[in-house]
């Protein structure tokens, strides 16, 4: 029972960052109709920025975090402006191929810059875990969880309470009508891609110090983000939030009770199961993509 509670707690804490990844991807898909294969690279970029500022430049950990997120958002905006702006209205396969190209290029640039050796990042947290009765959690993971929840809440507020968020929601519903109402679609797209990329970079910056940072860490992050988004239904933000936690639970329980070697396979088995049972995801939307 204690072991089960521990798994549950671990899953809850991991789920927050998974949700960040999923929300970023689903926003980009829902609003721009782009399957963002470079999503995981933004995640890796966030982790490397933490490494750069904390370990190379020696900056304060708490200062480096927002900086890494901001730089991730800037990189996302650049990708959108350079690669995607001209392809607005192109079919989904075209943008997909471009994003695959961007992914390969970005990942190998990371490998060139940082070499393939795994990097670890020091944190200011005490190494003794926080013990709560039968379960324990490291201070670092607790910090990750709190920041992830705060970022999720901030994203919801941004989308539901601000003018930009309103423009995003309008574009999501109907691009043409939104454009007719005077919404600058190009700006909405750049903002969406920057926001989604910033969230991915945040997930990377948070998890980088927990695990280690490698150039290929983005691959699994991309695939997990896809699993989360399919689980919640393409384009659904609440779906992606819940999907992140569900995936974390399934992974954690699968690793704990089945085999830790298959931990990363759980997400993919989940995708296949979802497609057999409920192809539109848990939070089904009226329309289907494809």
């Amino acid at each position: 029972m204690d072991q089960f509670l521990q798994h549950l707690l671990n899953a809850l804490i991991l789920g927050g960052t998974y949700a960040l990844l999923g929300i970023g991807l689903t926003l980009i898909f829902g609003i721009m109709r782009v399957v963002n294969f470079a999503h995981g690279e933004l995640y890796a970029f966030g982790a490397y920025m933490m490494y750069l500022w904390v370990m190379v430049a020696g900056a304060n950990f708490y200062l480096a975090l927002p900086l890494a997120v901001l730089l991730g958002a800037v990189l996302g905006a650049l990708v959108e402006l350079i690669l995607l702006r001209r392809l607005r209205g192109a079919d989904i396969d075209t943008t997909m191929l471009v994003m695959i190209g961007a992914w390969i290029a970005l990942q190998n640039m990371e490998q060139l810059t940082w070499s393939g050796v795994a990097k670890s990042i020091d944190t200011p947290f005490p190494s003794t875990p926080l013990v709560l009765g039968a379960v324990s959690v490291s201070w670092n993971r607790l910090f990750v969880f709190v920041v992830a929840l705060a970022l999720i809440a901030a994203t919801y507020a941004l989308i539901n309470r601000t003018r930009t968020g309103k423009a995003m929601r309008a574009t999501f519903q109907d691009r043409e009508t939104a454009a007719l109402m005077g919404i600058d679609i190009a700006r909405v797209h750049t903002a969406t891609f920057a926001l989604g990329s910033g969230l991915a970079a945040a997930a990377g910056a948070l998890l980088g110090p927990v695990f280690v940072v490698t150039p290929t860490m983005g691959d699994l992050a991309s695939l997990k983000a896809f699993a989360i988004v399919i689980l919640g239904g393409l384009g659904s933000i609440p779906g992606a939030t819940l999907g992140g936690f569900i995936l974390a639970f399934i992974e954690e329980l699968g690793a704990g009770y089945v085999s830790s070697g298959y931990r990363d396979a759980m997400g993919f088995l989940l995708i296949i199961a979802i497609l057999v049972l409920k192809p539109t995801g848990l939070f089904a939307q009226k329309e289907r993509i494809g």
């Binding site: 399957v35 695959i100 060139l112």
Partner: protein, 346 residues
């Protein structure tokens, strides 16, 4: 005229091992040939039905592993008390088994994911490849995991003790790969010009219209997936018995990407496209290596090339060259162009 060019080309390809003394170059050609077969199989799906499979390497790897395991023999415990043993079988049987298993997985994937297509199909195929890779990595009893399958036997054909051809040396493997590639090419050509093939193209162009005139959408797509998967499995089996060592790295996503780049650059939906793209991207790494350019730079180049091709040659090299040739020789442009219009309408 066209036939003469084809025969001249084939004659040239057949003559290569006779005058090429550099065995390393021959090795590169064999690997390029294997990748061209895989790219041709991907083209059947991506080019003719418009479905992007990003897990194609799973079929390739399944073919490689199945063929190796059948010809090596294995013994595994499916349950603690239930042991399954297979004695080594001849290599050709292993190759057929590899193709069959890859084709069967293609069937399952097709049935499963053609209910929902587009982005879903892409993600299902990636997931499938990733699951298979993790199984190959973790099921050590069967696959040796990261230790790899070693000493895979090479192919022998003929009647034992009487007449036997062994495919151990490079020239023999070159001819084997060439023969399989030609068979696959002819098969795909016949398939796409058949009734089923025209139905596939109709689907790609306008699915509601195709369905309304009675094209059985799912059946058509599943057929394409099965043929494509079995062909990729054949390429994998050729690879396994040529290189004679298989490890879970054959499932690396980067190989799928290589196939996609070959097809897209060469020209998806054309017969010659994967061959042209395969030649370029099969030989390019060797050219880059001779300039002492590292693999990372090579991959960055691939990524950039992919973006550039989508921007500037969205149809690929073969259609672009064909158009250029027609304009130069003043032939009227065939009514082969409605594809971009159909895409815009989608």
């Amino acid at each position: 005229m066209k036939r003469a060019i084809t025969i001249a080309w084939l004659g040239f390809l057949v003559s290569v091992p006779l005058w090429l003394t550099n065995l390393y170059v021959l090795h590169v050609l064999i690997m390029t040939g294997i990748f061209i077969i895989a790219a041709m199989s991907l083209n059947l799906l991506l080019g003719y039905t418009g479905q992007l499979s990003l897990g194609h390497v799973a079929f390739f790897g399944l073919g490689a592993y199945t063929s190796s395991l059948v010809s090596l023999g294995f013994s595994v415990h499916l349950l603690p008390a239930w042991e399954v043993t297979l004695d080594p079988k001849p290599v050709w049987l292993g190759m057929l088994a590899g193709m069959a298993l890859a084709g069967a997985c293609g069937w399952a994937i097709g049935r499963l994911s053609f209910k929902v297509r587009g982005a879903y199909f892409v993600i299902v195929t990636i997931s499938f490849a990733e699951v298979i890779r993790l199984v190959a990595l973790n099921w050590v009893e069967l696959t040796q995991g990261p230790m790899a399958l070693n000493n895979i036997p090479y192919l022998r054909l003929g009647i034992p003790d009487l007449i036997e051809v062994s495919f151990l040396r490079k020239p023999a493997n070159y001819y084997l790969v060439l023969a399989v590639a030609v068979v696959c090419y002819i098969l795909i050509r016949r398939l796409v010009s058949s009734r089923a093939g025209r139905a596939m193209i109709a689907l790609r162009e306008n699915e509601p219209l195709a369905a309304s005139v009675g094209v059985d959408v799912t059946r058509c797509l599943v057929l394409a997936t099965v043929v494509s998967a079995a062909m990729a499995g054949a390429a994998g089996a050729l690879y396994a018995h040529y290189v004679r060592i298989v490890d879970p790295d054959v499932f690396l996503f980067i190989y799928t990407v290589t196939m996609v780049i070959m097809v897209v650059t060469g020209g998806k939906g054309t017969l010659a496209g994967p061959v042209v793209g395969g030649c370029i991207f099969g030989l390019l790494p060797e050219v880059l290596r001779s300039f002492e350019i590292g693999p990372e730079v090579q991959w960055v180049t691939y990524g950039a090339l992919m973006v550039l091709v989508v921007y500037f040659l969205p149809e690929g090299i073969v259609p672009a060259l064909r158009g250029w040739w027609r304009r130069r020789s003043g032939e009227p442009v065939e009514a082969e162009q409605p594809r971009p219009a159909a895409e815009a309408a989608r």
